[in-house]
Symmetry: C2
Subunit: 745 residues, 2 copies
């Protein structure tokens, strides 16, 4: 009897040995950005850019033209470029050709930027040079300080705007360096993205189409306190300034200037008192004469599209208004039709889903308040025609095909988890699918929109890059990558849907089963969660968007479950704004539907359920641990929101209003008040210098737990901000894994 | 067979049940200060004070005279006092009689202090009142702001000095409030203890014996940076100032003023440039005409006893000098003989152990440099006679018996772990033991030193309080407390010695065995360590000084081991200063001798050895974990020093010199450089607002571990400083216990 058992054990050992020999295992370094072997574990890739309508491959050691038949014609090599720039092989000006630009459709010109030390000084200068790559001759050069930031070059005038020391400067094409502002400081900033990058704001300078006028943001944040951030790397620890406008507190005041490069004068848009107002989505008219902004009140429930005269700054008219009882969130500027400057595309969720609308400036009307499908109101002072509609969302507008007069965009019309590329004809709204109708596609359009570079993956395709004629959809495959994990023991990854807590809405989940899954065993299960707006975790791309850490955990014998609850993105306004004024409540109800589903599976060990998330997901993780202490045994909450009063006004008040207006809602989502509920093991991890979810969240939570007699665990990454990058990211995930290994396994 | 085993299991279960019924178990609350049941688990106590030579018991609800025969005569009750003060039972001025003082030897006067709200304002005033407790009449009253700090009252003049907003004030006996300084700030402070309370400095004001002149410290710390401490309890986290002079960096400059209450003028002692000098142990001559200081250079290896004229501030003479190649550490001011104002007692380690020396100002001599037994030099400009000597230390000088002309002190002459009370006759140095020769005694002398209150405990006596005639040693027991733990399952606590790593020196340890100890089992073992100077952990007092947490851990099945290594106190200078310029090295060698001893014990599980310590003990814990990663499996390091360059100059440079002078030593003790060695589980715990071992220590260590790829654990107590108090202390020890339970058990 004993012999037989020993024999069986030996056979089982042999089998696992064979499996281990047959398939390799991942390290965290293989699976995480920042891991030293991460890039060699990624599917083959190809980097391209446009030279007018021509597609150019920009590789590390040279650039090739990609011909219509898919063949490649070399344009130049890296060593050519360095030779033309006069640099030696020992200290090359350029180290790769990845960032090459081809600014002139008609000419063989490549634009490069490099840094040069000036004379015997320590000063560095950045040089922007254009070179004729047929002759090797330089055709232009422009220099600016190497510590210039937020560079913004006008394609039409070649004028360059940049920021240094919170002041804005312009360098003209002929090399003149003009200071636009002089009093920039930590309190007053120029040319930077404002309103903490909410409302689609990603930059602070906006060249007019002719490249002669520069609209720019000025932000007075002198009334906003600095959150005290501590730098421990100095000889004696020191603080550095970090303006942080908390919910319900005084916020910055933004104004918009228009700098004229010919006169050197700045005109200010006459917006009236900027107190408690958001100025978003700055756009220019094609003739460079008008500046448009979408203006939002602090309550974020009333948006106005306003037209200003660029020369005088005068406020000319309100073209359109939109309200909603919860919030309106303008995220996209105006896109004028290249072939008709009286019309532009506007994006709105007024029908409940983000769609494209054609606004016609040449067709004026008396504005009357009309109800919107989303439950708000609108006033149209120009004719507005929906270009797209339906219970799906336009995820991204790619641009125009000027010859066919179509608009190109990505949407999830086929399936909520997909992203496919369509063209819509402006004259009649006829939609045509331009891709294979599967998975998730990202598109990039050539100069006139006649060609489309389509980058694609799906659960069965790791990466496919295709060049498509937008006119007829004819396509040529440039790259189909092999699966780089084919020799590895990859867990089974599935996707499915359950009903939300409302009993009606479909929610999508991803499940990553333990490697060598045995349906007769019971596995410890970890729910990874984000759950907040403007994000999703499940989609029909490679591995259903599985994160590397999930693969690693599956390899260690865990089952992973990831569910996009109501409140997350790409499912329409009502799906998102159900959380209004009580963040966390509906999201948790949905996650508990996920738990109910998990409990129905025989291979889930319901006594060993853990949860992990970061940021909003850290809020969810902490909240779930404290609200369902008998369900979740172990949690790891990264950079969590603990109390929305410590979060910034711009994002926080959209969903929660102010603490003054919504005391009940803030109280209900204040996790300090639940600190005494902690039963399982919860580790809170933050970047010590997190400027997003400032340390006050987690530290005040620890204080509350200490006072309540509960024992969370805690870790900080000194010097790191809201997310850990590089090798710290690997260290972090070792840490998270170890915590589940210690307490959930 | 099976039945027999079951039966045995049942019997064993029954036995433990009986034991559990027979003896109770402790909670952490029972064992830790801050625990809600701590005080009821302490031995009975008695609080006393002196009324001249009469001993008075000050209890919560009244005061009693303790008669020579031990009987008690009530003096007054708390309600008497409150009645005399005119307060109502609903809002009594006083809530206990613990702090009563009897300032007048000849009169039935009690002095009390209470706080009163002034009129309709929010202002609070503190009132110092003297009351004749025979008649109930007030005999005097003095009021001062309730937020006054650092109160210092002259017993002879009744003048009161206090500090408010970093400025110094004096209130005279007749109620005049005189500001002594006006420019007090975070940069310039008056009347406060200086030099970070090193060199025996505990206060910043020093009344002359006649109570008319006030010597005081002024400290200019404008050149010292603030360590950025963050308060997370404000609406938006904020910083508050915390001057911190780090080793090798610029330090504060101290000067000493003498304020004359009659003239209102301040004279400054003419010390010359105070840069990089320490002014310590301010003392007055009995005639109130001279001020003495012991002045120390920044290198702390040369002390001068200097005499100043109080009226002019003139520097008159250097009476005595002492040097040592490592350091000299003056800790005690001059104590003039009450019966001969030309002589005083001076304490010094010049012979290698702290002893009493009689300095005779009336006997001058030419100072020549002489070698000291400790290896340094001294210069005596007055005749110096040793009063005590030998290879033991005077721990505390208690005062004088003026009738017998003796000096009373505590020493460990009988045994290094004991503290016994002696008198020494000044005229011939004849020593007489005044207590029972056992355990650890604390003494308090009556007005003329004729009576001694002797508080005592030993491993077999939990608390004994006795009143002794100093003349003849006749003693009367006032209280012998019952053991409050007699119904509890107290672990066996033993004490013994091993040889230090030098092979010669005796080191003392305490061992706390697991409750229900079974010598045939193997127990997880935790070493508790401090290991730094000016502290000891083992002595012959109650339970050998066992800390409550050790009892708790023993109850949970751990063996505890505590060893005072070389470098700790009460064993003489050479024992302490062997660590000079390389803190941690010798201390760890000795602790490893302790480990060697533990490994020789059959009941110690050598695979489960843990270590825990705080502050210097946190440094030791971290260092041991990183230096002997194969010995220590689990460690908890509280408020650790990680890099001595982040510690304060005054303490740090004494033992380590400056980072500039001792780069090698700082490198050798910089634990960041060993961060990659971590193998076991190490939790670092700090007070988030620690102003002693500032957070930069631990945070920089975490950074080093992250960079080295090791995984320490971490916790912070927001709002707490160097030590956790109150309920936080209980929370902390739950946490520490849990860590060993998780990883060592």
């Amino acid at each position: 009897m004993m012999k037989k058992i020993n024999c069986l054990i030996f056979l089982s050992f042999l089998a696992s040995l064979i499996m281990a020999q047959g398939k390799k295992s991942f390290t965290l370094d293989d699976l995480l950005t920042g891991g030293c072997t991460y890039f060699q574990m990624q599917p083959q890739n190809m980097y391209t850019t446009w030279w007018g309508n021509r597609c150019v491959e920009t590789d590390i050691d040279g650039c090739c033209l990609i011909n219509p038949d898919g063949s490649k014609t070399p344009l130049f090599t890296l060593s050519d470029l360095n030779k033309w720039l006069g640099s030696t092989p020992a200290s090359p000006a350029l180290r790769s050709c990845y960032d090459m630009e081809f600014p002139d459709d008609g000419q063989p010109i490549v634009a490069v930027t490099f840094t040069r030390k000036e004379g015997n000084t320590e000063d560095q200068t950045s040089i922007y040079t254009t070179i004729n790559f047929k002759t090797g001759e330089k055709t232009g050069e422009q220099s600016y300080p190497a510590d210039a930031t937020l560079l913004d070059r006008s394609a039409s005038s070649n004028n360059l705007a940049y920021v240094k020391g919170h002041n804005l400067y312009v360098i003209t094409d002929d090399g003149k360096n003009i200071p636009v502002s002089a009093d920039g400081s930590n309190d007053i900033v120029y040319g930077e993205a404002v309103h903490r990058n909410e409302f689609g704001i990603t930059k602070g300078t906006f060249w007019s189409p002719d490249g002669r006028l520069l609209a720019f943001y000025r932000m007075d944040q002198s009334m906003v306190p600095d959150y005290p951030q501590v730098d421990i790397s100095t000889r004696i620890a020191s603080t550095y300034p970090c303006k942080y406008p908390m919910a319900g507190e005084a916020i910055h005041k933004v104004t918009v200037g228009v700098f004229n490069t010919a006169t050197g004068q700045t005109v200010w848009l006459q917006t009236d008192d900027p107190t408690d107002r958001y100025f978003t989505n700055i756009s220019w008219s094609p003739d460079s004469r008008k500046v448009y902004m979408i203006e939002l009140n602090r309550d974020q429930n009333h948006a106005e599209l306003v037209c200003y005269d660029a020369a005088s700054g005068q406020r000319e008219e309100v073209l359109y208004e939109e309200t909603h009882p919860k919030y309106v969130e303008p995220l996209h500027g105006l896109q004028f039709l290249p072939w008709d400057s009286s019309k532009f595309i506007y994006q709105s969720q007024r029908d409940g889903y983000n769609h494209l609308y054609l606004f016609d400036l040449s067709s004026r009307q008396t504005a009357t308040e009309q109800p919107t499908k989303a439950g708000g109101t609108c006033r149209e002072r120009v004719t507005v025609t929906p270009l797209t509609s339906g219970e799906w969302v336009v995820k991204e507008m790619l641009g125009f095909d000027t010859r066919e007069k179509t608009v190109l965009y990505c949407s999830n019309e086929i399936h909520p988890l997909q992203s496919n590329i369509y063209k819509v004809r402006v004259k009649d709204g006829r939609r045509t699918l331009l891709d294979n109708g599967e998975g998730v596609h990202y598109g990039s359009l050539s100069g006139d929109g006649s060609r489309l570079l389509d980058r694609f993956s799906s659960p069965t395709v790791v990466r496919s890059i295709n060049l498509t004629e937008t006119k007829n959809g004819r396509t040529r495959n440039l790259l189909t990558a092999d699966d780089p994990w084919k020799d590895y023991n990859v867990p089974e990854i599935t996707c499915g849907s359950i009903k939300a807590a409302d009993g009606a809405t479909d929610l999508y989940y991803r499940m990553v089963k333990p490697v060598d899954f045995d349906p007769n065993r019971k596995y410890p299960t970890v729910i990874y969660v984000y759950g907040g707006p403007h994000a999703h975790n499940v989609e029909a791309s490679r591995n259903y968007l599985t994160r590397g850490w999930e693969i690693y955990m599956a390899q260690k014998g865990y089952l992973l479950f990831i569910l996009d609850n109501r409140g997350s993105e790409h499912r329409g306004l009502a799906f998102e704004n159900v959380t209004f004024r009580h963040l966390g409540v509906e999201e948790m109800k949905d996650q508990m539907e996920g738990v109910k589903f998990l409990k129905s599976l025989p291979y889930v060990d319901t006594d060993r359920i853990g949860v992990h998330g970061w940021s909003f997901g850290g809020f969810m993780t902490t909240n779930l641990m404290l609200t369902y202490p008998d369900v979740f045994k172990v949690g790891v909450a990264g950079g969590p929101v603990i109390d929305w009063q410590y979060y910034e006004a711009m994002y926080g008040e959209r969903y929660m209003d102010t603490p003054q207006d919504n005391a009940e809602g803030y109280k209900g989502s204040n996790l300090r008040l639940k600190a005494g509920n902690l039963k399982g093991r919860l580790q809170v991890i933050i970047g010590y210098n997190d400027p997003v979810c400032v340390p006050q969240h987690s530290l005040s939570f620890l204080r509350a737990c200490i006072d309540a007699g509960t024992q969370p665990d805690f870790f900080v990454y000194p010097g790191d901000e809201h997310n850990m990058m590089g090798t710290d990211r690997v260290h972090l995930h070792e840490r998270i894994t170890q915590y589940f290994e210690d307490y959930l396994k």
